[in-house]
Amino acid sequence: MKFLASLYRSPQTRTGLILLTFVVLVALAAPLLAPFSPVNVDPSGRLLPPLSRVLASSTQGAPAHAETALHVLGTDSVGRDVLSRLIYGSRLSLTVGFLAVLISAVFGSLVGCLSGYWGGWVEALSAWLIDVQLSFPFLLLAIFLLGALGGGTLAVVLVLALGTWVNYARIVRAQVLSIKHQGYVEAAHATGAGTLRILFVHILPNTLSPICVVGSFSMALAILTEAGLSFLGVGLDPSTPSWGTMLNDGRDYLLTAWWIATMPGIAIGVTVLGVTLFGEGLRELLDPRGLR
């Protein structure tokens, strides 16, 4: 509670928290909020501009007693409701972003921690892995892998994690290198703490705030990249309601039906902004010297 209260105090973090909470709630309550089914096609109601009304009978998701139904944000090229797709798309974007960050943060921090602490061959091996990773242009690698693996949510998550773990590894390694010579680590050794205790109790918590910074901006990046990959057609299946696939759908109609691509663009922007602001606040909070 105290934690949330202090998050709420800074106006920046509060904005981030509110935006993020909003997106998460929308994602959780998607079936309740969406006025239409996100996948239902309606050939008679294609490319309707925002606030168009259609006959209720032409849609299955609308209540039976309603005479007409409102497409608040219009429909896309095959007559799917843009708002509903947007709402359902938040689930995918958040899941993909969160999972990608989780996997890459855990793996990258672990590699960074071990290589920084032990040095020697562990460090040589991880440095080699990082160099190999960095020598590939990420987007090219992602397109290649997704082409080979055949897309899908899990594949996209793994590819995103593969592309970002080096950031954590490098930052955590640098932190560990300086932390392991601190007085309190020596003092912990003197109290009989073993290697695991030193690493996970005394060293890792000290690297949390940089991990948070990298985490928040990589989550933003992951959401963007997922959208980009789906836009390029190698990410998620085109029928999946995701912000990226919506952008892809809308690109041919930018001049005639601007809302199809614009709406997911705004959603991406809002989410990325929320994540970034929130991550910044979290970083400050995790450093106890900044509390108060």
């Binding site: 007085g183 309190y184 003092a187 912990a188 109290t191 009989g192 450093d287």
Partner: protein
């Protein structure tokens, strides 16, 4: 079984690489159960290294060799890494010089103390917390339940040092190594910390090794004093004898620098400074010694026993420990 809790014989420490430097040479000493041993010497004389080497906490690149280092019947230098970790904190604990850096800034005080308890006693979280409250109260920190939830930056320097003492005592060690515990503190706080450690020593039957460069402090608290210079023991005597009649010229000069009642010619308020090189031939103190002779510059003096309980390494002493005729 002897009464000594710690016996060190022939400890040498050198730092690695092609240009190997000998930092501690052939140090031997004993600590009796329940006594307070003071180790005094200037910066770089090897006091801290000697202590760290006993717990095998030397920085990488340092190499310690010893003939014998016996703690309570166990050889510290032949322990397995796991057994060594059981000794650290549980049998021998250290209070470090700088309480600012000896506490982890991102963990609460409570977490840091209970870590030690859970490590050594496998206490449950609730037991560890209770014990931590007791420990904090015992080192004189008011309102322990509240303080346990706070971070190091919320404590003053003196309070932090109390916390590190509580942490050191958490493992209920038998030997406490206090490595200049008051150096980084305000003068007014220093006395409190000294009194605290003395009280804990009395109450818990601790053996304490005080590492310091403050001879005046040792005069008050130590039973025995070991004087180190350039990585060697130059004098080892019961505190009363050392302060009444120091044998080694370095000890005399140190004492002269703090004592106002010393004879005028001995009141060396400063010792001429020369770079001390532990690797050089001869007595390491010779370049700064007013009484150095040719012999001192060519052959290093060995520690000899005088009067049963005092050791000193100086050529200028004759067999019964009086100043030789030559001085």
């Amino acid at each position: 079984m002897s009464a000594s809790i710690l016996e060190v014989e022939g400890l040498s420490i050198s730092f690695g690489g092609a240009t190997r430097r000998q930092l501690v040479t052939d140090v031997s000493f004993k600590v009796e159960r329940g006594e307070a041993l003071g180790i005094v010497g200037e910066s770089g004389s090897g006091k801290t290294l000697t202590m760290l080497s006993l717990l095998r906490l030397l920085p990488r690149g340092a190499d310690a060799r010893v003939v014998r280092a016996c703690f309570d019947g166990r050889d510290l230098f032949s322990l397995t890494p796991a057994a060594l970790q059981d000794v650290r904190g549980r049998e021998i604990a250290v209070v470090f010089q700088d309480p600012l850096t000896a506490l982890n800034p991102v963990l609460t005080i409570g977490r840091q103390i209970t870590e030690v308890l859970r490590r050594h006693f496998r206490s449950s979280a609730a037991d560890a917390r209770r014990r931590a409250v007791e420990l904090l109260a015992n080192v004189g920190i008011p309102d322990p339940p509240l303080r346990l939830r706070q971070y190091p930056h919320e404590f003053s320097g003196g309070m932090r040092q109390r916390v590190t003492i509580a942490m050191a005592l958490a493992g209920e060690p038998r030997l406490l190594i206090a490595d200049e515990p008051t150096t980084a503190l305000d003068v007014t706080v220093q006395a409190d910390i000294v009194t605290l450690i003395q009280r804990l020593q009395r109450e818990q039957g601790l053996t304490v090794i005080w590492v310091t460069h403050d001879l005046a402090l040792l005069a008050r608290i130590a039973d025995r004093v070991l004087v180190m210079y350039a990585g060697r023991v130059v004098e080892d005597a019961p505190a009363a004898k050392l302060f009444a009649a120091p044998k080694h010229p370095y000890a005399r000069a140190l004492l002269g620098s703090i004592r106002q009642d010393a004879p005028r010619r001995n009141r060396a308020t400063s010792i001429p400074l020369t770079a001390a090189d532990a690797g050089a031939l001869g007595c390491p103190f010779a370049p700064r010694c007013a009484e150095a002779r040719d012999q001192c510059r060519s052959v290093s003096p060995v520690l000899k026993v005088y009067g049963g309980d005092t050791r000193a390494a100086c050529w200028a002493l004759d067999d019964d420990g009086a100043r030789g005729a030559g001085s």
